[in-house]
C-alpha cells in the first residue's frame, strides 16, 4: 500500500573512452590487437575515401542519389568489427562502410546507386541482408534471424543498424519487445546521427536518450560516444558476448552526427546551422582514431600514406570495374528474373511480349 517507486530498472550507462581531445580513459580501454586496430582503421579510412569518391561521381552524374556516411565511420566499424562470418548483419541504407567491411564490394554499392538490381545481390553464403530502405522495417528481420539461430542451437548473433528516426516507427518497438520476450541474440545498434532528414532528435522523441528506450523492454541499453571507436567497440563486445552466451539482446545508442546532407538530393542549409556542423566536425571519429593509433605507435605516418595509396588504388579499380560492368548490364528482360523461384505463366507471357516489343521498337526503349 502507499505510493513508492517501483524498483528502478537497470541503469542506462553512457560510455566514452577516447574523447574528442584525445583524452583516454586507460582503465576502460578495451584490449584490441594491433592487427584489429589497423583492420578497423583501414575500414574507416576506406569508408571515408569511398564516400568522398561517390560524392565526386554523383556530382559528375556518374552515379545517382546516395546517402553519404561521413562522420559515422566509427559507429559503423566499431560495431561490425567483432562479427563473425557466421553472424548476421541487417543494415539500413547508411552503413556502407560496415557493409564493405562485411564483404560487400564497392562495385555492388555503385551498381545499386546507379539503379541496377544487381546492386543488391547477396553472394551465396554471405550472411547479410540487402540494405533496407523502408526505415525500421529491417529491425524485425534481425529478431527472426536471431530466433532461428537460437532455434538451431548455434552461438550466432545478429546485428541490426538503424537511425535515430527509426526509433519512432512501430517496427522498432515490436522488434525490441519481441527480441526481449524471446531473448534472441540480437544487437540493436542505433546510429543516432541527430537528424532524420530535416527532423532533429528533439522533434523525433521527447526522451532524453534513445538508449533509455531499452527500459521499456526490460533490455540492457547503453549510450556510447559513437565517434569514439574504442567506446563503440567495447560496448559492442559486451553486447555480443552477452548475446552469444544466451544473455539476450542489447540496445546500443551510438551518438554520432550526419556531417553531410541526408542524400545528395537534400539541402541541409534549409534546416540546420553551419555552426552546429562545425561543432561536430571537431568531434569526427577518423582523425581522433588516427591520432590515438599514432600516439600508441600502432600507426605511423609512412604506413598511413601507404594505406591512403592502397585505398585510392582499390577505389580506382573498383570504379573502373563497376563502370565496365554496368556497360554490360541493364538488359530489360532481366527484370523478370528472381521475383519467384519459377517464372509463372502470366509473367512468361509478359516477358515474351516485352521481348517482341524490344525487337520491334528498340528505339524508344533505349533512349529511356
Amino acid at each position: 500500500m502507499g505510493r513508492s517507486p517501483i524498483d528502478p530498472p537497470a541503469p542506462i550507462d553512457h560510455l566514452s573512452i577516447l574523447d574528442e581531445n584525445g583524452k583516454l580513459d586507460t582503465a576502460l580501454q578495451p584490449d584490441i590487437t594491433n592487427d584489429m586496430h589497423l583492420k578497423m582503421f583501414r575500414a574507416m579510412l576506406l569508408g571515408r575515401r569511398f564516400d568522398e569518391k561517390m560524392l565526386d561521381l554523383q556530382r559528375q552524374g556518374r552515379i545517382g542519389t546516395f546517402p553519404p556516411i561521413k562522420g559515422q565511420e566509427a559507429a559503423q566499424i566499431g560495431s561490425v568489427a567483432l562479427l563473425r562470418d557466421s553472424d548476421w548483419l541487417a543494415p539500413s541504407f547508411r552503413e556502407t562502410a560496415a557493409e564493405i567491411m562485411r564483404g560487400r564490394t564497392m562495385e555492388s554499392v555503385m551498381l545499386y546507386y546507379n539503379g541496377f538490381n544487381e546492386g543488391t545481390l547477396i553472394p551465396t553464403g554471405q550472411r547479410d541482408l540487402p540494405m533496407s530502405v523502408p526505415v525500421a522495417s529491417q529491425i524485425i528481420h534481425a529478431v527472426g534471424l536471431g530466433w532461428a539461430a537460437k532455434y538451431r542451437h548455434t552461438d550466432e548473433v545478429v546485428m541490426v543498424f538503424f537511425g535515430d528516426g527509426a526509433t519512432s516507427e512501430g517496427d522498432f518497438h515490436e522488434a525490441l519487445n519481441c527480441a526481449a520476450v524471446y531473448q534472441t541474440p540480437v544487437i540493436f545498434v542505433c546510429q543516432n546521427n541527430q537528424w532524420a532528414i530535416s527532423i532533429p532528435l528533439a522533434k523525433q522523441t521527447h526522451s532524453k536518450t534513445l538508449a533509455q528506450k531499452a527500459l521499456a523492454y526490460g533490455m540492457p541499453g547503453i549510450q556510447v560516444d559513437g565517434n569514439d571507436i574504442l567506446a563503440v567497440y567495447a560496448a559492442t563486445a559486451e553486447a555480443i558476448a552477452r548475446a552469444r552466451s544466451g544473455g539476450g539482446p542489447t540496445l546500443i545508442e551510438c551518438v554520432t552526427y550526419r556531417i553531410m546532407m541526408h542524400t545528395t538530393s537534400d539541402d541541409p542549409k534549409k534546416y540546420r546551422s553551419e555552426e552546429e556542423v562545425e561543432l561536430w566536425r571537431k568531434k569526427e571519429p577518423l582523425i581522433r582514431y588516427r591520432n590515438y593509433l599514432i600516439n600508441n605507435n600502432i600507426l605511423s605516418e609512412p604506413l598511413l600514406a601507404q594505406l591512403e595509396e592502397e585505398i585510392k588504388e582499390e577505389i580506382r579499380t573498383a570504379v573502373d570495374r563497376a563502370e565496365i560492368q554496368m556497360k554490360n548490364l541493364g538488359a530489360p528482360l532481366d527484370m523478370f528474373d528472381h521475383l519467384y523461384a519459377e517464372l509463372p505463366p502470366h509473367l512468361q507471357l509478359q516477358k515474351e511480349q516485352l521481348t517482341k516489343e524490344l525487337a520491334i521498337v528498340t528505339g524508344e526503349v533505349q533512349h529511356g
Partner: protein
C-alpha cells in the same frame, strides 16, 4: 481415410509437415496452449512444444517480419494472422520485404513463408472479422495467394504452400472451417499452386468462384440444371494469384458465358481481373457480358445484415439467367 472438417484437415497438414521437416515452425497469437481461436493448431503445442509452436506478442508486423527473418535463415515459418482483417498492420512487411527478398538479393535469399489468415463472412463474427480482401495480396508482385474451398483441398494446398519456395498468402474461409466434412486421406496429398479445378463440367456457361462462395455457386448450378435444364461448368479457382487463365479461358471459349462469384467488394476485386482475362482471351467466344456476383462496394455490415451482403444462391442464379437469356 477419415472424415474431417477443414479445421481438422488444416491441423493434419500442419502436423504432418512439422513431423516431416523440423524447419517448419508456427507462430502467431494464441496458437499455443489455446490452439488458435479457431483451433486450427489444436494439440500441436502438446506434440511440438513452445520451441516450434510460438505464441507471439500482439504485434502483426513483428509476426510477419520475424517470419521473414526465420525464412531467410532457412526455416519454413507458417504464421497465423488471427483474422485477415488484422493483417494490414504487417502489410508493409509483406510488400516491402517478403515479396521482394528473392528479387532484391538476385535469387540468393528467399522467403519460403506462409501467412495463414481466416477471412470472409457468414459466421456472425464481430466487426473487422469478416472481410475478404484477397485482391490486396493478389495485386502485390512476389506473393502467391491461395484460397481452398474444402477440407481435402485445404490440406493438400497448405502442404504445397509450406513447401513452396516463395511467400504464400493462405486465406481460410471461416464459413468453411466446420461447415462440412470430407474424406481426407491420411497419406500425404499435394495440389499444385496456380491451378484451378473444374468441379462440375458443363457446356452452357462457366461459373467461377473460390473459397466459401464455391458452395452457393454449386447450388446455383444445380438449381439451373433442375429448373432450367442448363449444364453449368463450375470452376474452383483455388489459387487467386497466379491465376490459372488458360483453364478459365478454355472453359469460356467452350461455353461463351461466364459468371464470377466472390464475397469481396466488387470494384477492383479479383472478379475484375478474371473478367479482364476472359475478355482478353475469349473475346470472340463471348456471347453475353460476363457477370460478377460479389459483395457490394461497402464494408461488410455487422452480422445481422451480412447475409444480405454475401452473394446467395438466388443472386447467382439470377445472374446466370441474365447471361443465358441473351
Amino acid at each position: 481415410m477419415a472424415k474431417m472438417t477443414m479445421v481438422e484437415s488444416l491441423n493434419l497438414a500442419l502436423r504432418q509437415e512439422m513431423r516431416r521437416d523440423d524447419s517448419v515452425v508456427l507462430l502467431g497469437q494464441d496458437i499455443g496452449r489455446d490452439g488458435g481461436v479457431f483451433r486450427v493448431t489444436d494439440g500441436l503445442f502438446g506434440e511440438f512444444g513452445e520451441e516450434r509452436i510460438v505464441d507471439t506478442p500482439l504485434a502483426e508486423s513483428a509476426i510477419v517480419g520475424m517470419s521473414i527473418g526465420m525464412a531467410v535463415y532457412g526455416l519454413r515459418p507458417v504464421c497465423e494472422m488471427q483474422f485477415s482483417g488484422f493483417a494490414y498492420q504487417g502489410f508493409h512487411q509483406l510488400e516491402n520485404h517478403a515479396a521482394r527478398m528473392r528479387w532484391r538479393s538476385q535469387g540468393r535469399l528467399s522467403v519460403p513463408m506462409v501467412m495463414r489468415a481466416p477471412y470472409g463472412g457468414g459466421v456472425r463474427a464481430l466487426e473487422h472479422h469478416s472481410e475478404s480482401r484477397e485482391a490486396y495480396w493478389a495485386h502485390t508482385p512476389g506473393l502467391k495467394v491461395v484460397i481452398p474451398s474444402g477440407p481435402r483441398n485445404a490440406r493438400a494446398l497448405l502442404i504445397s504452400a509450406i513447401r513452396d519456395p516463395d511467400p504464400v498468402i493462405f486465406y481460410e474461409a471461416k464459413a468453411l472451417y466446420r461447415a462440412f466434412r470430407e474424406e481426407v486421406p491420411e497419406e500425404e496429398e499435394c495440389l499444385p499452386i496456380g491451378r484451378a479445378n473444374i468441379v462440375r463440367p458443363g457446356n452452357a456457361l462457366t461459373m467461377i468462384s473460390y473459397g466459401a462462395m464455391l458452395r452457393p455457386t454449386l447450388e446455383a448450378a444445380d438449381e439451373l440444371q433442375q429448373s432450367d435444364g442448363v449444364e453449368a461448368e463450375v470452376i474452383d479457382l483455388l489459387t487467386i494469384s497466379p491465376l490459372d487463365s488458360d483453364l478459365l479461358v478454355a472453359s469460356v471459349k467452350k461455353t461463351g458465358r461466364a459468371v464470377i462469384v466472390h464475397e469481396a467488394p466488387q470494384s477492383f476485386g479479383a472478379g475484375a481481373e478474371i473478367a479482364a482475362r476472359l475478355m482478353e482471351g475469349a473475346f470472340y467466344f463471348l456471347e453475353a457480358p460476363i457477370e460478377r456476383v460479389t459483395g457490394f462496394d461497402i464494408i461488410i455490415p455487422y452480422f445481422s445484415r451480412e447475409k444480405s451482403y454475401l452473394p446467395g444462391v438466388q443472386r447467382i442464379v439470377a445472374a446466370a439467367r441474365r447471361t443465358l437469356t441473351i
